[in-house]
């Protein structure tokens, strides 16, 4: 008996009892669907986060005051939190450590920015002229402020795209106009390109020289963060070490600042993802085990029900192996079918969830292949015992079975 005939006979046997076949497959369907859906959503979210971090420029190390737990956004200001000062930036610039390409500072405050009768509450970022290069975020219209404007603490501003659109009829009109932010009036010299980082709209920001912010807006010398960009990825480690030493020397206490390597963040995320994958694997394992037991159960029932058929097939010349294969193929087909339905269902579920939430879904081909092969494997494994029972039936007893 060749494979295509065995397959045909298995298909007709599965179709002859549709409800039962479906219920049997349900365990596999649910297991596979959940793993496909969860890995798709998980992978999508991970890619998104990694993309966000990458979109903010590469090869970066950020120094912030306080102790960080190594997770983005989890910096905890410890005693004497505001320890970074403008002079540290200047010293760092003067030091000229090899491999460090750019150094920028960023202070973020929230202000209401107005032009005429329009006003928006937005983030105002005081920074240095290298910001666009380091953050990989460029000016679209006009220009960014330069070193001279920084040194002179001039009243100039570069608007994020969204802010420009909110305040003016079109971004082009913004150039040369005077806007108010807090106590100062600044001339718009540029508008940034449109960009978003994941769920965050980077257009809702206004950039001014850090010196202008410190002298005219907040009156504070402290700095919220210093970001260093190295020439290459290989320079990151030495730069991290250098920064640790540099700030330990200046601040006299390693507890008062944190050096956050972008790579560390990515590693942390990958670690979290890895743990999640492990969890998913365990869940899939359990549900496929349950599904497999369901299949074995039904195959045993099926063997009993079809005792006479088995007897007859043997009487007319089926070898034990032919019977074994027939039942193994049937159970594998059943679980493979369940696997396929599960994959389709999983894709649909992940698409639906990502449509109604902000989680992106990336259907992973790997996950599909693995889920499918495991489901076929489960059918094979749990099908063998019932199939062996069938193949070893005594034809005489089987033919007489009522």
């Amino acid at each position: 008996m060749n494979l295509s005939e065995t397959l045909q006979s298995a298909v007709s046997s599965i179709l002859s009892n549709k409800l039962r076949s479906f219920l049997t497959m349900l365990g596999i369907i649910i297991g596979v669907a959940s793993v496909v859906a969860m890995t798709s959503l998980g992978e999508g979210t991970t890619e998104e986060i990694i993309g966000q971090i990458g979109s903010l420029g590469s090869n970066q190390i950020t120094v912030i005051p306080g102790r960080s737990r190594g997770i983005p956004g989890m910096a905890v200001a410890s005693r004497g939190g505001n320890m970074l000062e403008w002079k540290h930036y200047l010293q760092l610039q003067d030091f000229g450590f090899p491999g460090i390409k750019n150094i920028i500072v960023e202070n973020t405050t929230s202000f209401t920015v107005t032009y005429g009768r329009e006003s928006v509450r937005t983030r105002v970022i005081g920074t240095t002229p290298q910001y666009p290069e380091v953050r990989n975020f460029n000016v679209d219209i006009g220009r960014f402020f330069d070193q001279k404007e920084l040194d002179n603490a001039e009243r100039v501003a570069v608007l994020g795209r969204t802010v420009a659109q909110d305040l003016f009829a079109s971004p082009e009109e913004a150039l040369g106009k005077k806007i108010r932010a807090g106590r100062i009036t600044a001339t718009v010299i540029g508008v940034m390109e449109e960009k978003s980082s994941g769920m965050q709209d980077l257009g809702e920001q206004v950039f001014i020289p850090i010196t202008t912010m410190q002298k005219r807006l907040t009156g504070s010398e402290y700095i919220q963060s210093i970001t260093v960009q190295t020439e290459t990825e290989e320079d990151l480690d030495s730069a991290v070490q250098f920064l640790e030493t540099f700030f330990t020397n200046r601040l006299k206490d390693p507890e008062k600042f944190s050096v956050i390597n972008q790579q560390d963040i990515l590693d942390t995320i990958n670690q979290v993802t890895g743990t999640m994958t492990l969890f998913l694997t365990a869940i899939t394992g359990i549900s496929l085990l349950v599904g497999g037991i369901g299949i074995m159960n039904i195959m045993l029932v099926s063997v009993t029900e079809r005792t006479r058929e088995i007897g007859l097939r043997k009487a007319i010349g089926a070898r034990p192996f032919d019977i074994l294969i027939q039942f193994v193929i049937e159970s594998s087909l059943l679980s493979a079918l369940g696997g396929i339905i599960g994959i389709v269902l999983g894709i649909v579920i992940s698409q639906v969830i990502s449509k109604f939430s902000s989680y992106p879904a990336i259907v992973s081909v790997e996950a599909i292949i693995i889920a499918f092969s495991i489901s076929v494997g489960v059918g094979l494994f749990f099908g063998i015992y019932p199939a062996r029972r069938a193949s070893q039936l005594d034809p005489i007893t089987a033919l007489r079975y009522e």
């Binding site: 009487a315 007319i316 070898r319 034990p320 032919d322 005489i396």
Partner: protein
């Protein structure tokens, strides 16, 4: 020169049922020539079913030898027996044993699938076989769309399809009314005239009388070898039945 199709020598079958030994066959010997129509008769417990199973290569004797077509088959392993059943034996059962999900044609094809024939060849041979039992009009029907007699004829077609050395019919008329029984006997007699060797197991004298020779069994032994002088012609009986009906309806 004419080698017997079946030759059994001193066949014993002993079952061990717990402490008790049951001797189902006790030294049975006989020969069946090619082209014979043999009936095996005996009350229940006479060992005729056990003999049938051994002749059909579904079971092996405890002792003794069994030659089928000159080949000693009593000590073959399970796979070899399966092959012998496939190639040399055609079974007809009391309860037809057709697979309900398959059409008449597909049921008849089944032995050829295990013989490894191509789809084309199988269809041809199965058609020929169904024609031989007069069911060429019913090839696409499923068993539940056929009468009992027709189902048994499909089963006979299935038994024929591999061109076996013998056809073993185990109470083939046991589930049928008189008329259908005679129809089945008519098919078997026709096949016999065409050269098939037929071994029929029955406990009904009327049915056994259609054979050329009757082997009587009792308590696991062959007790009588009766030659039937004038075998019953199924066709004649059928005609009679039809006339009776006509008379009744008049």
């Amino acid at each position: 020169m004419n080698q017997p199709v079946i030759k059994v020598e001193d066949l014993w079958k002993i079952y061990q049922l717990g402490e008790v030994q049951v001797e189902a066959l006790r030294g049975v010997s006989f020969e069946i020539e090619g082209g014979e129509f043999i009936a095996i008769m005996g009350p229940s417990g006479s060992g005729k079913s056990t003999l049938m199973n051994i002749l059909g290569c579904l079971d092996r004797p405890t002792r003794g030898r069994y030659f089928l077509d000159g080949q000693e088959v009593s000590q073959l392993n399970e796979n070899q027996l399966a092959q012998v059943r496939n190639k040399k034996i055609g079974f007809v059962f009391q309860s037809f044993n057709l697979l309900p999900r398959l059409t008449a044609l597909q049921n008849v094809e089944l032995p050829l699938i295990y013989a490894g024939l191509s789809l084309q060849k199988r269809k041809e041979r199965a058609m020929e076989s169904l024609e031989a039992v007069g069911l060429e009009e019913r090839v696409r029907h499923y068993p539940n769309q056929l009468s009992g007699g027709q189902q048994q004829r499909v089963a006979i077609a299935r038994a024929l399809v591999n061109n076996p050395s013998i056809i073993l019919a185990d109470e083939p008329t046991g589930n049928l009314d008189t008329r259908s029984s005679e129809e089945i006997m008519h098919v078997l007699q026709k096949l016999n005239r065409e050269g098939k060797t037929i071994v029929l197991v029955t406990h009904e004298r009327d049915i056994a009388s259609h054979a050329h020779r009757i082997l009587h069994f009792r308590d696991g032994q062959l007790v009588d070898n009766e030659n039937v002088e004038q075998p019953l012609e199924a066709l004649a009986v059928l005609k009679e039945l039809t006339e009776e009906k006509v008379v009744e309806s008049v």
